[in-house]
Amino acid sequence: MSHVIALLLGMFVVPGVLLRLGHHLRRQSLTARRMFWGGIVGWCGAVLLMVVASVLPPVLWTEGAREVAVYWSLLVGGLAGMGVGALRRPG
């Protein structure tokens, strides 16, 4: 059940939050802007990973790394990206 919740959060909530963060981006604080771009990079990378893990190789995944990648990558990728963006110092 936690797998499915993670998938739904990563699939719908994370892009929704990113879209909200991107609203009037130029007026946002530097941290918010870094979170936004970090989230975009992390989530897009996670989408690629999720799609590749789900179809390559084209055999059923029932457990193991592939299942974790399919269910969790979107949520973890998006949050990790936002976290890295928020923590990264200007330089």
Partner: protein, 190 residues
């Protein structure tokens, strides 16, 4: 450039602008909503559309991609000489090993090729290709196109998973309709 030419061009620009401008506040409000629907639907269903598209392409080319076992065979005996289905199923079950415990899902008889494809009910979906006349097992493999179909329909994520596929279809319809409206009234969203 003469002043009259410039005035004519300006009038044409104004006319074009008026043609695209909505006539009422109602249309203007609707256009604003349409723009937001297009934006949010586009972002939120991205993953669904990607998965449905990739699996759809793979299913279209399932033979070329080797997603299903393909066995060429020329029949050596008449179809009337075929063994009974129960016996053919027994041969297939013995050949697939542990997957046979799940039971036979379906049998696809091909008289022209002299074979029967016996598909099993296990999660990986094994399939054995058996000669109709002799019961010889020609090939045992996985029906990965079934897995791809389940991923395409969302069924792989559980019984409620098909709702994801429905959501992708509804979202895509909304994107098409809202995109068409935005194309008709491009200046009305502000």
């Amino acid at each position: 450039m003469t002043e009259s030419t410039e005035a004519a061009r300006s009038a044409a620009r104004t006319k074009r602008h008026r043609r695209h401008r909505p006539r009422s506040d109602g249309i203007r409000n609707f256009s604003r909503w349409t723009f937001h629907i297009h934006l949010w639907a586009g972002v939120v269903i991205t993953v669904l559309i990607l998965v449905v598209s990739v699996t759809g392409i793979a299913l279209n080319h399932k033979r070329g991609l080797g997603l299903m076992p393909e066995v060429q065979h020329t029949p050596a005996a008449a179809f009337e000489d075929a063994l009974p289905l129960a016996e053919l199923a027994r041969h297939a079950t013995a050949a697939v090993g542990a997957a046979g415990e799940a039971g036979v899902d379906r049998m696809d008889v091909r008289p022209d090729d002299g074979i029967v494809k016996v598909r099993f009910n296990d999660r990986e979906v094994h399939e054995a290709t058996v000669v109709l006349a002799t019961g010889e097992v020609l090939h045992v493999g996985l029906r990965n196109d079934v897995f791809m179909e389940k991923l395409h329909s969302g069924e792989i994520f559980g019984a409620q998973g098909i709702l994801l596929s429905d959501l992708a279809a509804v979202g895509l319809t909304l994107l098409v309709l809202s995109g068409f409206w935005i194309w008709l009234y491009p200046r009305s969203r502000v």
